[in-house]
């Protein structure tokens, strides 16, 4: 205790309060911390005192921990953080620009890394085509990187081999093949990487006669061939949906899976932001199953795959002045033709059919409408798909004929994806040498002699040229986890090139070829620095010129197509799911658990049947049916799906995987079993065999199927079991006509304008008041935000059984409601127990046209209510309201009474039923050291027994606030991006400060379409929804 009379002092300077001392006293430490010295090598050791020792020790331990945590296996050139890498600050994010390899759209990415490990995929906001968006699949790739089922080393006949021996033997075999005259074939997916193509070219030069065959599991060959016929070059036009007033799609799910969905969603949603009726796009979808695009369409008509040809010829003939033979319900083909003619040159017609004749007719329609050159760019085309069915079919024939000496498989899995699997597998046995770059023991790799595992794209250098004039670079974001090698490098080694380092080769290639394509930089190193930082550049490509389309062959296609007769059989419709796609990502737990945007089923594929057809054939949800096509049969559970065409069965690709396991020696010489496919194996059934090799094409839809009821039952894992909005004011809609005088709050009626009083004192938010606006008009329901949130916030994957028990943990979900056109709603609750499709329960099903349903999506996350019902009921105050309007869950205070979840009217709270990160029952993302590397260190991994929910990415808010504080400036609007907002390919989510009247979010809150849900409860949510806008259907008729 200080004595009043006595004053103690440390030294004379303190006693006299000399200015020097006063100044120093401001600092916490008397002297500057000699951090710089620590990091200098020459200072290590000799002059250390006690404090230095502690600093060294603390630093080394941290560094050792970080080093140990970041690299699983010792890596060459690895240096502990005793000398800190210049670019890495522990606890600080680093972003690397790279190119996505989740699908062939090759969007530009920014990868967030932390202490040398990538933890989150974001879109590159500068990219002119993906514009910062990234899809669910792209988000998931970072988790695939940490899959411990990846092959750890090169293999020969499933036994480990060194790279030297592998190279030696492979080169010998290749030379043998050349000598024997059988030659070498390279089978790859679509490759648009200039440097890899160059390496393959070098390889081919070295080994003349080498053929490179590109093959896509879900082929765009018909589209390419049609354009080859019309424009002389196999190309895919660059589609510009933002310029289209009318979009007519025959089955192509361009918002979900077709070609380049992120880019198209950006364009589509941007176009829909207009309030001018004249510019508001009209979207018509003709399809056999309800796709994501179909669910967003203004007019949607169902048709069977066998009708597509006739529908196209009808449309073609109506557009070219004839009269079509086929008309669909509601004269939709005529409507489409009239609308297209009305907006000539401002429309896009597409189809996902792989029948070249269909694509020729579509191209002819586009040509007749004058779309080439305006909405379809064939001068600067897209290179996102290049697979050629004809070459693939020829390869399989050659393999079976024993004409292939060496087959190198790169990035494809034909034993799973090729329709005639037996033909491919038999052919594989007749190939002398088989080599693969597969990173996992997939179906094909199990029959391959040499496996030279390729890097995951996040570990690898590379480049991409998805569109003419757009060049994107890939760079490693982590040291390779396993003993893998870039495929390009393997090609170079086997070609016995002088320069075999992938990086050097790439750089050299860019120096020689890319530097000249741009004019900004003259010095290559400057250019390289720029490109590594920014990830891409747009430059001069090799644009052709718009040649007049050669339509001489169109009539042949029309004749051929119009001869196709609609069948009365049950027809198969195969489709890609938004996340799983062609199955390349099916071992990814995030993507597996992600519910399908339409069916809301996770963890499975199933047979989508039309409600009417299923009822007529006495099958219903839960029944397992056997589907037989051309003698091939699979068993799948039924899901009666609104929007499904009568007489079709929809089945998704990507399931029924069969990864193998291998045994290799680990670092200490013990045998270690590498089990691939922990997630995907045994889930669902493979639908690829239902596609058919027909002539020179692979046709996916329309095969005749027979079904029989197996008598078995199977429960699907649904995240939403009730599909009707019950007439509640949850999703508001208006039409473009009414929009000018529309007020959402008035549309809510009494509750929208009621002045509600509260017992509590209103919160005051002196500094910031965070809010979020969700534009339901922009949202397409694609689910990218769900995976983004999962990655950002360390949300556990809980597995099929737990989803069945309605326990998925997603913090943001997208509610999907069906509505039907005006009918007599007969309340019939006798079928309430029907756990799955409860739509029956609500209506007299005989009066419902289930094929023509309207769909509405609504992303729901924590609404951060100002009067939060969860906050008052928690007995331990584990939920607090921040001074910035956030509803904060305090994990270490939570005891888990779950009262808050019960009392949440929005049902956004998620409870940790188990300890997901150590319970072996949940071996998905957090149960092994490798997959734990994906965890975001900024977000707590929740213990069992606590409640969790959306935090508005509070860690991001804090990080940006901290940055602003260190830079002594105010926060900028839009600077803080929540994970969902950042990812959203539709720009539907906007987060910001409601206290700032000029912020984007404030403006949206003031928008006439803005409303909040359940406002009558006086919860005062800080999330606002913007009503959905639809076209006036009458206008379209």
């Amino acid at each position: 205790m200080e004595n009043k009379d006595q004053k103690y002092w440390k030294g004379l300077d303190e006693l006299n309060n000399e200015p020097e001392f006063a100044k120093q006293r401001q600092n916490e430490f008397a002297e500057k911390l000699p951090l710089g010295n620590i990091l200098k090598e020459d200072d290590l050791g000799l002059n250390s005192n006690r404090r230095d020792f502690l600093k060294f020790m603390g630093f080394s331990i941290t560094a050792a921990t970080i080093a140990a945590a970041c690299t699983r296996t010792p890596v060459k050139k690895a240096i502990p953080y005793l000398i800190k890498p210049e670019e890495i600050d522990p606890g600080v994010d680093n972003f690397y620009a790279t190119t996505c390899n989740g699908c062939n759209a090759n969007c530009s990415l920014l990868v967030k890394t932390r202490e040398g490990r990538p933890i989150k995929i974001d879109g590159n906001p500068d990219s002119p085509f993906s514009q910062g968006g990234v899809c669910a699949t792209g988000q998931g790739t970072v988790l695939s990187l940490y899959d411990n089922g990846r092959l750890p080393k090169p293999l020969r006949n499933k036994e480990e081999i060194t790279w030297e021996n592998l190279d030696k033997q492979v080169i010998a075999h290749i030379k043998e093949s050349i000598a024997s005259g059988k030659g070498v074939r390279i089978l790859s997916g679509s490759i648009n990487s200039p440097s890899t193509l160059s390496a393959i070219k070098d390889f081919s030069t070295k080994y003349p006669g080498t053929q490179h065959i590109m093959y896509d599991a879900v082929s765009y060959s018909g589209l390419l061939q049609a354009h080859k016929q019309m424009f002389g070059k196999a190309l895919i036009p660059d589609y510009k949906f933002n310029k289209a007033k009318v979009i007519v799609s025959f089955g192509a799910d361009f918002l979900g899976t077709w070609l380049s969905p992120v880019e198209f969603t950006k364009q589509y949603s941007a176009a829909k932001k207009t309030e001018v009726k004249e510019d508001y796009p009209i979207h018509m979808q003709f399809e056999s199953r309800l796709s994501l695009s179909g669910s967003n369409a203004d007019i949607r008509a169902t048709l069977k795959p066998s009708q597509v040809g006739q529908a196209l010829t009808s449309l073609y003939s109506k557009i070219t002045g004839g009269s079509g033979s086929l008309e669909l319900a509601g004269n939709t083909i005529s409507h489409a033709a009239n609308t297209l003619l009305k907006y000539k040159g401002r429309s896009i017609v597409i189809t996902d059919s792989n029948d070249p004749d269909h694509q020729v007719i579509v191209a002819a329609i586009n040509n007749a409408l004058g779309n080439y050159g305006s909405t379809l760019d064939v001068v600067n085309p897209s290179y996102q798909r290049a697979g050629n069915d004809k070459d693939m079919i020829q390869l399989v024939t050659d393999m079976n004929a024993g004409k292939v000496g060496t087959l190198i498989i790169y990035g494809v899995n034909p034993s799973y994806t090729y329709p005639d699997t037996d033909a491919f597998n038999n052919g594989l046995k007749k190939v002398d040498n088989t080599i693969s770059f597969a990173g996992m023991m997939d179906e094909t790799s199990q029959n391959i002699k040499y496996i030279a595992p390729d890097h995951h794209f996040l570990e690898s250098w590379g480049d991409s040229n998805p569109k003419e004039g757009y060049y994107s670079l890939s760079q490693p974001t982590i040291t390779p986890i396993f003993n893998s090698r870039a495929a390009t490098e393997s090609f170079l080694v086997w070609a016995e090139a002088t320069e075999t380092s992938h990086y050097d080769y790439l750089k050299k290639y860019w120096k020689e070829n890319m530097l000249s394509k741009q004019s900004q930089y003259s010095d290559f190193e400057d250019f390289w620095e720029h490109i590594v930082e920014h990830g891409f550049f747009t430059g001069k490509g090799n644009p052709g010129s718009l040649t007049a389309a050669n339509t001489s062959l169109v009539s042949a296609s029309v004749n051929k197509t119009s001869a196709q007769v609609a069948s009365k059989n049950l027809e198969v419709v195969l489709y890609e799911k938004v996340a799983i796609r062609d199955g390349q990502n099916s071992n990814n737990p995030w993507l597996m658990e992600l519910p399908d945007p339409i069916s809301k089923v996770s963890w499975d594929n199933y047979a989508c049947l039309s409600v009417k057809w299923a009822d007529e054939h006495n099958v219903t949800d839960l029944n397992v049916i056997k589907i037989t096509v051309n003698g091939k049969a699979v068993e799948l559970p039924v899901l009666r799906s609104p929007g499904q065409t009568y007489g079709t069965v929809g089945i998704a690709y990507g399931y029924g995987r069969n990864y193998g396991k291998i045994t290799v020696k680990d670092a200490s010489g013990n045998n270690e079993e590498i089990i691939a496919g922990k997630v995907a194996n045994g889930i669902g059934a493979n639908a690829f065999p239902f596609a058919a090799v027909s002539g020179e094409s692979i046709l996916y839809n329309g095969a005749t199927a027979e079904i029989s009821n197996t008598g078995k039952n199977y429960e699907l894992a649904l995240t939403q079991t009730h599909h009707n909005m019950e007439g509640r004011n949850l999703i508001l809609e208006t039409t473009i006509d009414e929009l000018p005088k529309y007020k959402a709050k008035e549309a809510l009626g009494e509750v929208g304008s009621a002045q509600l009083i509260s017992l509590w004192k209103d919160y005051r938010f002196p500094a910031h008041h965070w809010g979020m606006a969700v534009d339901l008009n922009a949202c397409t329901g694609c689910n990218a935000c769900v995976v983004s949130c999962q990655a950002e916030n360390n949300i556990p994957v809980v597995g099929k059984d737990e989803v069945r028990r309605r326990r998925e943990m997603h913090w943001i979900r997208i509610d999907r409601y069906y509505s039907v056109a005006e009918t007599n709603h007969v309340y019939d609750d006798t079928k309430y127990h029907d756990k799955h499709l409860e739509i029956d329960a609500m209506y007299d099903k005989n009066k419902i046209d289930y094929e023509n349903v309207k769909v509405a999506f609504q992303p729901i996350m924590c609404q951060h209510c100002s009067n939060a019902p969860c906050e008052t009921v928690c007995p331990v105050s584990a939920i607090s309201h921040s001074s910035e309007g956030l509803n904060q869950q305090i994990y270490n205070r939570c005891v888990g009474t779950r009262y808050c979840a019960n009392n949440c009217p929005y049902k956004v709270r998620r409870f940790n039923w188990f300890r997901y990160f150590t319970n072996s029952q949940f071996d998905y993302t957090m149960n092994n050291d490798l997959s734990r590397m994906v965890l975001n260190p900024d977000v707590t991994v929740r213990s069992r027994g606590v409640m969790e929910k959306c935090s508005f990415c509070v860690q991001r808010i804090q990080a940006v606030k901290l940055t602003a504080k260190t830079e002594s400036r105010m926060l900028k609007d839009g600077e803080i991006k929540t994970a969902c907002m950042q990812t959203c390919p539709a720009n539907a989510i906007v987060f910001g400060d409601l206290n700032d009247p000029n912020s984007e979010v404030s403006k949206l809150f003031a928008n006439k379409r803005s409303y909040s849900i359940l406002t009558e409860l006086n919860t005062r949510p800080n999330v606002s929804y913007l009503a959905k806008v639809r076209n006036n259907i009458e206008d379209l008729a």
């Binding site: 939403q720 079991t721 009730h722 599909h723 009707n724 909005m725 019950e726 509640r728 949850l730 737990e802 028990r805 309605r806 326990r807 998925e808 979900r813 509610d815 999907r816 409601y817 609750d829 309430y832 127990h833 756990k835 729901i860 019902p869 008052t872 009921v873 928690c874 007995p875 331990v876 105050s877 205070r893 939570c894 005891v895 888990g896 009474t897 779950r898 009262y899 979840a901 019960n902 009392n903 009217p905 929005y906 049902k907 709270r909 998620r910 409870f911 940790n912 039923w913 188990f914 300890r915 319970n919 213990s943 069992r944 027994g945 606590v946 409640m947 849900i1013 359940l1014 409860l1017 919860t1019």
Partner: protein, 502 residues
């Protein structure tokens, strides 16, 4: 107008019953080796208790996930069972406190066991809020303990916190009340005990009761004060339990009628449970003399009244749902009637509203077998009432996208069954070690004829109707009873007190 009130039947029957035989009848169970039936029952109860312990251990070790709750339904079996058990725990205090204040003499035969039942039911009830927490080990955070965390207090706005106080207060007051009533009886047992050890133990637990007038005076006063304290608690506990739901925003939960509705329901189910247990106890322990058909009949009348009250509440809820014009509320009530859990709503209406109407018939009221079965069904109905309120309030609330269903896992069912093990283990131990009827109090209502014979002797123990002429010779009887056994003080006091009430 001339009205002659019917003569009330005696509350204690039996030809040879006298003050001494009462003591003998009641104490003998605690002094002799229990029957093999007791051992069998106790063994079974212990086995079921073990099941409870294992299932709770499994739940706590693995996580609440072993139950079938989900993202929509955060409470189901756990809280249903909690509310059900706490309701059962209501009759005891009602009988001891409120009926004491109302001078309902018939309560004395049953109050001891009813109070014991209350305490054991509160044990079972209290278990659920504890184990339903995701992190039981942090459960202490619910208590307003002094701490160095800020200090960080629990949230006094939360009905769950009020629950903590309400239930712990109720439990402690019930235990004190029960124990206070036990003291004179423990002294009686002490005086009768033959072994030294037993005597020492009972001396300790009877607090050195001597039976002096001063003791009796204080005893009566304490009982009265405790009754005064306990009476509001009877009303408050279930009122506060109902706040767990009423203070929420959910349609079907957020209802102002809940406090009286829950209290009526609690008394209803509590009496039903007392009914069930006493019919067994009087049979097994041969206490027909003390727990008469008249008792059963009286309790049946209480059941009609409280059953009527809950039915009124059911009706009011439906009326309010319609009258409020609030769509969500209306949906919830339609969903109760015709939704997937229709059987819950209809069994609650059948068992709680319709079934008790049979008690209007005197024959049925006085038939132990039928009343036993009916009381059991009422308990089932009351369980469903809680299930309907809790699960059906949340399984289909505001956003149809989150609607879900619930069915229990084996763990939840076993925990529920296991609580019966806990209950009966406690109850059987109580029957073995403590007098199941309040000896001192029951003697106070023992009626004696002018000839010095107990009234029961005039009509016979099993007479259903009593038409005898009542006469009292209190002073003489007091004198006559003062020798022969060692607890004359008790009888002196009792007789002096109760005589005039007839």
């Amino acid at each position: 107008m001339h009205f002659e009130s019917p003569v009330r039947e005696p509350l204690i029957l039996g030809k040879d019953t006298n003050y001494h035989t009462i003591t003998e009848d009641i104490c003998i169970e605690t002094e002799r080796r229990p029957s093999k039936y007791w051992f069998m029952s106790f063994g079974l109860a212990l086995a079921v208790l073990t099941l409870l312990a294992s299932c709770i251990t499994y739940t706590i070790m693995t996580g609440i996930g072993v139950w079938n709750l989900n993202k929509t339904i955060g409470w189901a079996y756990d809280i249903t069972n909690f509310v059900w058990w706490i309701g059962i725990g209501h009759a005891g205090t009602l009988i001891s406190a409120i009926l004491l204040l109302f001078r309902q003499q018939w309560r004395t035969s049953i109050n001891r066991s009813a109070e014991a039942m209350t305490i054991f039911a509160v044990f079972c009830a209290g278990l659920f809020p504890v184990i339903h927490m995701g992190r039981v080990w942090n459960g202490y955070m619910n208590l307003p303990l002094p701490n160095d965390l800020g200090p960080l207090w629990p949230n006094f706005n939360s009905a769950l916190l009020w629950d903590v106080f309400a239930i712990s207060t109720y439990l402690s007051v019930s235990v004190v009340f029960w124990y206070t009533g036990l003291i004179p009886d423990l002294a009686t047992m002490r005086d009768r005990s033959k072994s030294k050890a037993r005597r020492n133990v009972l001396t300790f637990f009877s607090f050195g009761w001597t039976g002096s007038v001063r003791h009796w005076n204080r005893f009566e006063l304490v009982c009265l004060i405790l009754a005064g304290i306990a009476t509001p608690l009877v009303l408050s506990v279930h009122t506060i339990v109902s706040f767990d739901f009423a203070t929420s925003v959910l349609p079907g939960w957020h209802t102002t009628i809940f406090p009286p509705y829950f209290v009526a329901g609690a008394i209803f189910s509590g009496f039903a449970m007392v009914h069930t247990l006493l019919i067994i106890a009087r049979k097994v322990m041969h206490l027909e003399k003390y727990i008469t058909i008249g008792h059963l009949e009286t309790m049946s009348k209480v059941l009609i009244l409280t059953g009527g009250l809950v039915s009124l509440a059911y009706g009011t809820e439906f009326f309010m749902a319609w009258y409020s014009g609030y769509g969500y509320e209306q949906f919830v009530f339609m969903n109760r009637l015709f939704g997937p859990y229709w059987f819950g709503q209809w069994s609650m209406i059948a068992f709680n509203s319709c079934l008790p109407q049979l008690f209007w018939f005197r024959k049925i009221r006085r038939n132990p077998t039928i009343t036993f079965i009916m009381a059991a069904f009422i308990n089932v109905g009351m369980w469903f009432e809680r299930f309907v309120i809790i699960v059906m309030g949340i399984h289909r609330d505001f956003l149809p996208s989150s609607w879900a269903m619930y069915s229990p896992t084996w763990v939840e069912v076993c925990i529920f069954i296991g609580t019966f093990g806990l209950f009966f283990t406690c109850f059987l131990l109580f029957c073995k070690y403590l007098p199941v009827i309040a000896i001192a109090e029951v003697k106070s209502i023992f009626k004696i004829t002018r000839g010095g014979k107990p009234v029961g002797a005039l009509v016979g123990a099993d007479e259903q109707d009593y038409n005898g002429d009542l006469a009292f010779e209190l002073a003489a009887q007091a004198k006559a009873a003062s020798h022969g056994n060692g607890h004359s003080n008790i009888e002196m006091m009792d007789i002096g007190k109760t005589g005039p009430s007839h």
